[in-house]
Symmetry: C2
Subunit: 280 residues, 2 copies
């Protein structure tokens, strides 16, 4: 009896948390797949979970801070892993950064991975008057970071635009430093603050909502980053679940500042619950 | 008449600032020499200035955050540039860090330049339970920084010991990122605070005073770093002059938090003034 009562309470709680959800924002790395040598591997059940969302009629948008690859390359990788995904379903920081550069007449020095350079093809990079920094992996050599520093320190009003500010992400052989630590390095070196494009910036979530055609209260974010995905979405009035895959760590469930609307084992479980309770 | 009065006022001001000075703490990089390819170049007048201090009977100690080379290598470089200097005249962070490691039973992962490794010869680096970070130049590759991150993130109580926390220094072909930005990167990635050994830590200045055998009020620091050299010394009750060489920038003279006891063009001018006024 007690077990049945507990299950009923849990069901009621999920029904309340998921009421009125009409669309999903999905983080990609750590939710759909874990990166690594040879492109990475799909997280079990996630290929089917994406397919089930699409079949259900719920709206769906991929909301990623991926900035090590162009969207074309990124989508190609995910398709090879079996995902039903296309470029125009992705909200990612590089196009948003290009928009800012154009509007403000900025010429970037690009501290980015070679694979994401095509996103900046139309930008004038001569005589740079700002730095754009993205997750660069091995391209974060001392020489490259120092070049970016020299550009910034030579400017009267240094502008540093960061594609996300994640601390780290998970690849198959372990955790990898993301762009955030290198942003902090340049901020400290030049005594400046970066402008962040991407999660957790509210403008970025709002762009994803616009592109999906839904309001914040109709949407739920699913991510593995308690601060950037969950906290960022919640600050915009979007509900958010954390998956226990990717960079998730058990201490995330006791984070001092951010509490997810729910914790699930993986995307497959999240989709099970949403399909069961969202329209109840 | 007016010019003579002004000169007299200036002389009186210097006499007051320098009264009772019996010993000098000299920063090295940016004060004695500028580093660069081939070892660097002596700053004009500084070789003679060091010789004049030694002839004067004033006490002298070199107080440096140099952590890219062992003291032996560093002294060899400075001797080749013409300086009268020996290893036992140098206070530098690596020996202080070794003392801490021994006292606390810490086994470091060394994120340091190969040239400084000999300073850590006696340390057990197997199965590391802390990270020691120093100015590493090109050794700050993504892979090396990420290895240090993985060590820290795997520890229950991550300990990060930093040899200095300088923002940047000057080499002959331009400014170079120092260890500080990389400390901030690891602090952000792991949500921790580093323990700084070296300037501006008070313990470091106090060790230099002990080694010189003088009290703080009898001593003056000469450096090119307004925060680390000047601010750090002043917090210990040591007077401090900033030289307009090395990494000095004109805005340093209007720093919002630190005001030097005097600004001089270079070490040669500082020594002129000290020899003229210190014992008056």
């Amino acid at each position: 009896m007690r077990a049945m009562a507990a299950a009923a309470a849990t069901a009621a709680a999920w029904a309340q948390r998921l009421a009125g959800v009409r669309g999903l924002l999905l983080d990609v790395s750590g939710v759909l797949y874990d990166g690594g040598d040879g492109g990475g591997t799909a997280i079990p059940g996630s290929v089917e979970a994406v397919a089930r969302i699409k079949q259900s009629g719920l709206k769906l948008r991929f909301c990623t801070n991926e900035s090590q690859k162009s969207r074309d390359k990124f989508v190609g990788l995910l398709q090879r892993l079996g995902f039903d995904i296309s470029v125009n379903e992705i909200t990612s920081p590089a196009p948003a950064a290009c928009q800012i550069l154009k509007e403000r007449g900025l010429r970037p020095y690009l501290l980015v991975h070679d694979d994401v350079l095509p996103e900046f093809n139309e930008m004038d990079t001569s005589n740079p008057n700002c730095v754009v920094i993205a997750d660069s992996g091995d391209s974060f050599s001392y020489q490259n970071v120092n070049k970016a520093f020299r550009v910034l320190v030579s400017l009267e009003n240094p502008v540093l635009i960061s594609l996300g500010e994640g601390r780290y992400y998970k690849e198959s052989d372990g955790l990898m430093l993301d762009v955030g630590p290198y942003v902090k390095a340049l901020e400290y070196a030049c005594d400046i603050r970066a402008e962040v494009v991407g999660k957790p910036a509210p403008e970025f979530f709002q762009a994803a909502l616009r592109e999906m055609g839904l309001e914040a209260h109709e949407t739920i974010m699913i991510g593995d980053d308690i601060v950037s995905d969950v906290g960022g979405a919640q600050r915009c009035g979007i509900r958010a679940l954390q998956v226990r895959t990717g960079k998730f760590r058990p201490c995330d469930e006791h984070h001092p500042e951010v509490k997810a609307d729910g914790y699930v084992n993986d995307l497959a479980e999240a989709v099970d619950l949403i399909l069961q309770y969202a329209n109840k």
